[in-house]
């Protein structure tokens, strides 16, 4: 009786809904993923590998790694600092701070690139000054990093804040009253408590940083081999009708996405209690 009552029981609805879900997910979500790998290998493994060994492709991979290696640690430090002051202390203006941290999620990636051009582009506020001092931000690495940071910076903070809010300050306060230094307390108490959530946030931040397209496309200038990250390399090849090359590069990015998804899912299954995310969604 209870099993029957526990679900809405229209006759034949369960198989119907299940079939509909699988069909939608298959056509809408899985088919594009399969297409990437299928089209990358359309002309054989040899050409697939050859297009990944092109100097421009290797330069794009290197640039993508450099951009992520700069922006992800910076965002992790910011996330830790923001979560520490927001969750461990009580002060006025917290809501404003939280709103500002969430803001980049509601901004179009293109706008996230645009704002840096408005500041540092040829006709930007600081454009002339940069030109006089022979500094380049837009159409160069610093611009790519700034755009990536703006797009990805809420990830770590948003993962940590709800979790640290729930954990409160009791453990840290106990350590401090027992004579531990502030740094020891953070290192031995706080960090172990939040390590999985931190890893989770860094994982999502990194995936977005390496896969970001809109924001970096605005500040990149698409100079081949110099300012094209891997997603931009995909675009350049695609617009040149080099479809095997475009999908080969895309398959590297898709693999990155898949690995991220697997790690994220594994974290959610094994450490759900220590992740704020699993409570949120």
């Amino acid at each position: 009786m209870s099993a029957r009552a526990s679900r809405i029981h229209l006759p034949g609805l369960a198989p119907l809904l299940l079939a509909a879900s699988v069909a939608v997910m298959g056509v809408l979500v899985v088919l594009p993923l399969a297409t990437v790998f299928h089209d990358a290998l359309a002309k054989g493994v040899g050409q697939f590998l050859a297009s990944l060994k092109e100097p421009d492709a290797l330069a794009a991979i290197r640039l993508t790694l450099i951009v992520a290696a700069i922006s992800v640690p910076l965002n992790a430090v910011f996330g830790l600092a923001a979560a520490w002051c927001i969750t461990k202390f009580d002060f006025r203006g917290k809501t404003v701070l939280l709103t500002l941290i969430d803001l980049p999620f509601s901004i179009s990636p293109v706008v996230s690139g645009l704002v840096w051009v408005l500041l540092f582009g040829a006709q930007g506020w600081f454009g002339e000054w940069l030109l006089d001092h022979d500094l380049k931000i837009i159409f160069a690495l610093p611009g790519l990093v700034l755009a990536t940071i703006l797009v990805t910076f809420p990830f770590v903070a948003r993962e940590l804040i709800p979790l640290m809010q729930d954990q409160g300050i009791d453990e840290e306060a106990a350590a401090l009253t027992l004579g531990a230094s502030g740094f020891t307390t953070f290192w031995k108490i706080t960090l172990p408590n939040i390590r999985w959530a931190l890893l989770y946030g860094v994982l999502l931040c990194n995936a977005r940083a390496m896969g970001e397209f809109g924001a970096v496309s605005v500040v990149s200038g698409h100079i081949r081999g110099l300012t094209t990250t891997l997603p931009l390399h995909v675009e350049v090849l695609y617009n040149d009708y080099d479809f095997v090359g475009a999908f080969a590069a895309a398959s590297v990015l898709a693999s990155l996405g898949l690995v991220t998804l697997v790690l994220k899912t594994a974290l959610e299954w094994r450490h759900s209690g220590e992740l704020a995310a699993s409570r949120r969604h």
């Binding site: 430090v77 923001a82 002051c85 002060f91 901004i107 179009s108 703006l150 809010q165």
Partner: protein, 295 residues
């Protein structure tokens, strides 16, 4: 998120409140100045100053210049296209999201957890990758595009193609918003309704639907907001024909390529203003529903 912020009382659980003159409660924990300093400096450099540029620069061409930019037929049509297609895609996502979330929460079947993990794929797949893959599928010679073409329907390089891409990227928002609420749905309430003689349809309409409505609205809102600004997954499949399949973010890129910074900023600011307006309206709707539910 803000309602999770509860005051931390350093003196125990009493009703101690911070004196009005002081802006922060004293605490024995160290590092407040350092962490707040880093946070504020970073926020200023990365968010506040850049967004100030976005808010200020359009007005270099004056109110009339901004108005002329936004009412220019090409820009106006791009804005219309972006917002209307995003709305339609979010509405379809509401239906698909309900079906998928319900299936994942209420039924046990082999492969359920894999299907559940796959829901996040549109988040995990870089947008440019999704863009070229969707284009390959729905192009006139693609596996699905060719079928549609046989019926005389143009998918890629038409508004329909943009719509498909927006449905793709919006789906996870609705499913992930609904899942926890469906999980928490009190089965006893449903059972009570049943024992009191409610039909299945009555239970869905009067018991399940009101409980899900706020989460559904917030998921749809997120999907809508994401769709309005989406660029990477749309720009390949759109075809980018002026007046027909140009989306608003692409217009920003085009204005920047013409070194028309003020016009680009005007379009960006307009997008931001319209989507914040939509978010506020939807939040009010959500509040009203929540209040009605409590009565």
């Amino acid at each position: 998120m803000t309602d999770r912020v509860r005051p931390i009382d350093p003196r125990g659980r009493g009703l101690w409140k911070p004196p009005l003159s002081r802006w922060r409660v004293p605490s024995i924990l160290p590092g407040f100045g350092l962490s707040l300093g880093i946070t504020l400096a970073y926020l200023a450099a990365i968010v506040i100053i850049p967004l100030a540029a976005l808010a200020i620069r359009p007005w270099e061409i004056g109110l009339s210049g901004v108005w002329a930019t936004l009412t220019d037929e090409r820009v106006a049509r791009a804005l219309m296209l972006s917002f209307s297609l995003s709305l339609y895609a979010a509405l379809l996502n509401a239906v698909l999201g309900l079906v998928i979330a319900w299936t994942l929460v209420r039924y046990e079947f082999p492969g359920r957890r894999i299907l559940d993990a796959l829901v996040d794929l549109p988040f995990a797949l870089p947008t440019a990758v999704a863009g070229i893959a969707l284009t390959a599928i729905y192009a006139p010679n693609g596996p699905l595009g060719s079928i549609a073409a046989r019926f005389g329907i143009k998918t890629a390089y038409s508004p329909l193609g943009i719509f498909i891409a927006l449905v793709f990227i919006g789906l996870p928002f609705v499913v992930r918003a609904l899942q926890p609420v469906m999980q928490d749905l009190d089965k006893e309430v449903e059972e009570a309704a049943q024992t009191l003689g409610a039909s299945d349809l009555q239970r869905i309409v009067f018991v399940v639907a009101p409980a899900l409505a706020p989460a559904l609205i917030s998921g749809v809102t997120l999907a809508f907001a994401r769709a309005v600004g989406e660029y990477g997954s749309v720009v390949f499949i759109a075809g980018n024909m002026p007046m027909k399949t140009e989306i608003a973010p692409l217009l920003i890129v085009i204005k920047l390529e013409q070194y028309d910074y003020a016009a680009a900023a005007a379009v960006g600011l307009a997008m931001l203003a319209i989507s914040f307006g939509a978010l506020i309206v939807l939040n009010i709707v959500q509040l009203l529903i929540a209040r009605r539910g409590r009565r």
